[in-house]
Symmetry: C2
Subunit: 415 residues, 2 copies
């Protein structure tokens, strides 16, 4: 079957000057792929009517659909409407219904509509406005030489809503695409990308042959290493079933030690969730991470039900005074274990979690990258060590997710 193609044109001199990175086109490209529409070209062009016109004409000439993004605002620099009218060879007319809609939006905010915004109510004769209009900039749709051109504002949340709710369904109908695409992200920790891809090689090959789901890997730092399953089907429930079946297969290969979440939850959410289910509170003692563990845990709303606090002991006298660590080297197994116990005591928590290590760039007490981690659960302390070959920031980030994962595994096994 011939596949339909859509080209994206992003309008704005600020994009060419690098003042704004064009993430809109990337996002649209991803959505097109998910909906089975090909994407061959994406172009950025400045706020110049001649060059926008040439770019749109070329795009209409070589693609089935065109999405032009940006240049729909109320100022004189916003040229997309005018250029579309010119490409269509028609006039712009003021749409009185749009005037009222825009005026009403200002009215709801208790403000008068500036006269400039009248420009936004202008529509090329023969073009339609998109039914979805999240802001004050109406989107446009025009058929030119049998091809469909859509114009959306550059404001990401307005653009996204129009693309998802209006443009993609329209394109799918025109292209005769009835299948639905869905994806599911499993998050993992504890294996490398090449390790995962080796373990899953046979399954990936099998999927290639039967044409089922696809599997992609995405290294995401402190968010873990993501495994994304994508599949296509005729209905939402069919797609969901297929994704769940595939997730079970991947899970049986990788195991729950490696996979920490099946629904895109962060490691912090997973650990806080387990603690909450068990009715356990958590206290942290951290040195090299400097507050990062606490900061990540408290980025989850509702964390206060579980998380009592963290002792950021950046100097050894704080370790001694508050955590009551004995007179041992700061970066050592004994220090980490005493810190975990100290966190429970000082913060009156059921579970203690501690890290100490050398973040660099210069070694102070130990080789750079050496980290000791400890967890205290039910009064029993366990510890482990790792030597990271990374820079300061990554040492801190990888330590954070690793110690949280160690706690997750202990709680899963022991409680």
């Amino acid at each position: 079957m011939e596949r339909f193609s859509c080209e994206v044109v992003a309008v704005g001199t600020e994009l060419l000057l690098g003042q704004i990175v064009d993430t809109n086109s990337s996002w649209i490209g991803e959505q097109l792929a998910l909906n089975g529409i090909e994407s061959y070209f994406q172009t950025k062009v400045g706020d110049n009517p001649e060059r926008i016109k040439k770019t749109l004409k070329q795009a209409i000439g070589r693609s089935d659909f065109v999405i032009v993004c940006g240049g729909l605002g109320p100022t004189q620099d916003d040229l997309t409407r005018d250029v579309i009218a010119e490409v269509m060879g028609v006039e712009l007319v003021t749409d009185e219904e749009l005037v009222e809609r825009i005026a009403a939006i200002f009215g709801n905010r208790g403000r008068e509509m500036p006269l400039n915004n009248l420009r936004q109510a202008q529509v090329p004769v023969g073009a339609e406005t998109l039914s979805v209009m999240p802001g004050t900039a109406p989107g446009l749709k025009a058929v030119i030489n049998g091809k469909t051109l859509y114009a959306v504002p550059g404001v990401p949340w307005e653009m996204k809503q129009m693309v998802l709710e209006d443009i993609l369904p329209d394109m799918r109908a025109k292209a005769g695409i009835s299948s639905i695409i869905g994806s599911k992200t499993l998050r993992t920790w504890g294996d490398s990308e090449s390790g995962l891809s080796e373990k899953l090689a046979q399954e990936i090959e099998r999927l290639d042959q039967v044409g089922g789901a696809t599997i992609a890997f995405l290294a995401s730092g402190i968010e873990g290493l993501k495994v994304r399953l994508t599949t296509k089907g005729d209905s939402k429930s069919e797609v969901e079933d297929a994704l769940n079946t595939e997730a079970d297969i991947v899970s049986s290969i990788l195991g729950d030690e490696i996979i920490f979440s099946y629904d895109d939850q962060t490691m912090e959410e997973v650990v806080l969730g387990i603690c909450k289910d068990k009715g356990l509170t958590l206290g942290v003692a951290e040195s090299l991470t400097g507050g990062l563990i606490g900061s990540r845990l408290t980025s989850v709303s509702g964390s206060s039900e579980v998380f009592k606090g963290s002792i950021v002991a950046y100097s050894s006298d704080v370790k001694h005074a508050i955590l009551k660590t004995p007179d041992v080297p700061s970066v050592s197994q004994a220090a980490a274990e005493a810190m975990a116990v100290g966190a429970c005591r000082a913060l009156n928590a059921d579970i203690g979690l501690a890290v100490t290590g050398e973040a660099g760039p210069e070694p102070l007490e130990e080789e750079v990258g050496r980290v000791w981690m400890a967890t205290s659960v039910g009064g029993v302390v366990k510890s482990s060590t790792v030597k990271w070959p990374f820079d300061r920031e990554r040492i801190r980030q990888f330590t954070t997710i690793t110690v949280l994962n160690a706690l997750r595994l202990r709680l899963k096994e022991e409680i």
Copy 2:
């Protein structure tokens, strides 16, 4: 004077699918602007030889220079070399010197060169390799119909080094551009973008008329609100002098209360620097920020000379037990002040800094966004409050930079 233009073509199907955001083109666009070269179009195209060829031909037809980015790797998907040869109408030949250079790079890493990498040593007849070669992918330069086409790898650090050290100087020479462009970033906190632009309106107008430096604003969250000065001159020292003169003028208008750094230092670096100069140590007590203040301070290497630690008191019993706060509401002036004093005591620090507040999304004790901040310097406690109209994450971030700024101002005034 007619200005020269350069078009950027980014090659890679993964760019169209949104798997990678094309930040390379944005970065190149910024560099071109800084060097006085116009940028009219930027195009993304997939790994398809016909479409790459059409895109390159069009770019050569309408621009003076073309930079094509990506597709220079060792795999069969890397088509840029082949397409350039086709556009030039010539063969690819193996450059023996390049073979040796690439083999030597592998040798230095103690590895044998895979045969695939021989592809990277192929050069279209009549094209040159760029002299700068940071990785194993050589850059190319070819003159086609009097226009110059440069090819660079998509790996950002390799691409950037080639553009900065090889391509831009070459373009400037060809375009007869001798002037140098430089910029200087002042960081501010405590005023809005519109507030700053109002205060600087007269100066911006004056600069417009005399054609001196330009002033741009960039809101950067926890990094502050940046004011970037850019100017052009015939020599490095002339540019530096002009930037320093302009920085003095901006400084006299905005003042040091607003401007916290003149050389792109972060707020954490500035505060740690002041403390270090004065020989003072710092302790933190934080609730709603959950460790973010400590985490930011310790992201600065060498922070252990000043920063003693942080008590992340996420539950009120921790506030009472470790910080010895009295029996007052958790989010209150009295709590914040007691926490600052408690941080000094518990962490044995000269200076105490504390925040408590309601980060939301649901109000627990106070309205969402209400934050109390306190600093203790020389035993004297000062406090202030703010009500942020933001979401949880921004409330935490803005609180962090605001309380650090409050400490900066106190230390500047009092010590």
